[in-house]
Amino acid sequence: MDISVKGALVQNGMQAASYPPRSIHSMAWMAWIAAIVVIATLTRNPFYLGLMIAIAAFVRWRWTTQLALPQVALLSPLRFSLLVVASAALFNMAMVHTGSNVLFVLPSWIPLLGGAWTLEALVYGALNGVALVSLFLGFSVLNHATSVRSLLRLIPRAFYPAAVVTSIAVSFIPTTLQQIEQIREAQAVRGHRLRGVRSWLPLTIPLLEGGVERALQLAEAMTARGFASGAPVQKRWSQWLVLAGFVGVVVGWLLQIIWRQQEIGIALLVLGTLLVLAGLWRAGRRHPHTVYRAERWQLHDWLVVLGAGVAVVAYLLPWFERETLFYYPYPTLTWPLFDWRIGLATLGLLAPALS
């Protein structure tokens, strides 16, 4: 039933593939990948997972063809996915020895591997692999669709120093590669040959020393342009806030799962999260700076976030038949159930591909 729906969508996608998709705000992409992570962590139902993989593959196909990127992976995505699924299946079959459809039995004195190798374990392992593949696919779309620059802009202001460090590091990598080459040649020219571990020393020491000297000059240049990361602040309210919030979240969660205090647990969770956010906001104010050319948030980005939100909500809230999510082939292999409403909600993840 859903297969035909999927097929129709794929058809439509092919017809619409004539113009490039609009660029999507990095925040929207974050929402999208968060949805995929949530779903892949939660469920092992092959229908839901398969649906998600199809969607992710479609989005990936749309984005990579439009961006005209060469496929540089060592293994094509398909082969890689099959490899992952196969190894996960094999692993699980070798480790877990429960289930009624026994394929063959190894003598039980062999540690870890001994016992019955069952079909159920194989299937479950494969499902684990499939979940992994969906994660890989989702992240590969992210890698293609966003640039380092846009990802760096996402880092909240509270972490501005870390963001600057990352920015510097990214821009220094080409220089470092060049330096390595130059040092290699310079050392070769004075008779150095790479023999043994000690011979790496004449390569690494100039690299580090050169790096340190460059760091100094860079620090001077930054200071000369008004960069002030600030002296350590005495009263660290923001850090106390964040810490308190953190404790709140942990305690709330523990209350919820160990001592079954639902209301207090959830309340503490929410309170804790709010405190953390407040602390981060305060910490952000210590680094006054604005952002040049912030990405513009467009209607399409709302669609993406909405689609991701719908998908996540369907999987988290107990409105639909949540039990279908938690499919276990043990102890006997049965046919998995499927709630079409959850499946429909998953289609919300298609938003980035439609434009």
Binding site: V37, T41, L42, N92, M95, V96, P111, Y124, N128, A131, L132, L135, F136, F139, N143, H144, L151, F159, P161, A162, V164, V165, T166, I168, A169, V170, F172, I173, I180, V197, W200, L201, T204, I205, L208, G211, V212, A215, L216, L218, A219, M222, T223, F227, G230, A231, P232, Q234, R236, Q239, L243, F246, V249, V250, W253, I257, I258, V276, L325, F326
Partner: protein, 303 residues
Amino acid sequence: MTRALRLATYSLTSLVGLAAFLYPFWLPEVTQNADGTLAHAHDSALMVTLLVGLCFVVLLLEVQQDAVGAKMIALLGVLVAINATLRFIETAIPGPGGFSPIFLLIVLGGYVFGGGFGFLLGALTLLVSALVTGGVGPWLPYQMFAAGWVGLTAPLCRPIAAFLDRVTTPRVSRALHHSLRTELWTLALFAAYWGLLYGAIMNLWFWPFAVGPAQMHWTPGVGAWETVQRYLVFYVVTSLAWDLARAGGNLLLVAVAGTALLRILRRFQRRFTFVYAPTIYQEGASQESASREGKAEIAWTSQ
């Protein structure tokens, strides 16, 4: 006050982080329902992931205090660049097993400049190399956290080396020479130890994927210890060899390159990180103030 805050942050996040990483062992037992099933079994994996993320955020916020000033930030940036480049080389020219050259700088950096510096160096190395190679994946936050931990705990070597030094010096005549060696070997062993531990931690991430969530291999009556044993067997079979290669590699790298690199880092520290404010005085001033570590004193007379 600041020290209390730092201590609280480090201990809380490490504790929670550790517990979160080890959730397959203790969580099933404590969330057991009366009928033997597990409560919230399905959501716990997700919650744990979020919790680890939160730990990271809290720790990062605290640790940034060590990266104050353009010099530290620039030095961090350049070191992260060098380390990330070493990581490409590692993937391009695969060494034996899990050998990874990045831990050398992380350990030494943390040792010389402090835990915060080491944490940032570790975490951002992984981030930058993932960003630049387009290899951002679901394991990245765990890698960042684990690598950050390596740098964060590196300053522990200082008291250990000092202690070992005190213990062994009376027996050796050439004390100075030996003390340098003690330091080096402490660091080398530390790096080796983390080589193994890093692998174990990353494996913990992978384990639930490989063998399914807790309820599948946890049966009522089986305690935490049993599960630990099963994990250990899993670990030995799958990744011990890999991790031994990493540990051995770390040991070798630190032993060979440690002295020289330490010298370079210390030279930087000595010359360039000591003054926040200089000693200055106008013509005719009668006193100077000391320009030593961290003291922000400016003495001047009005003109």
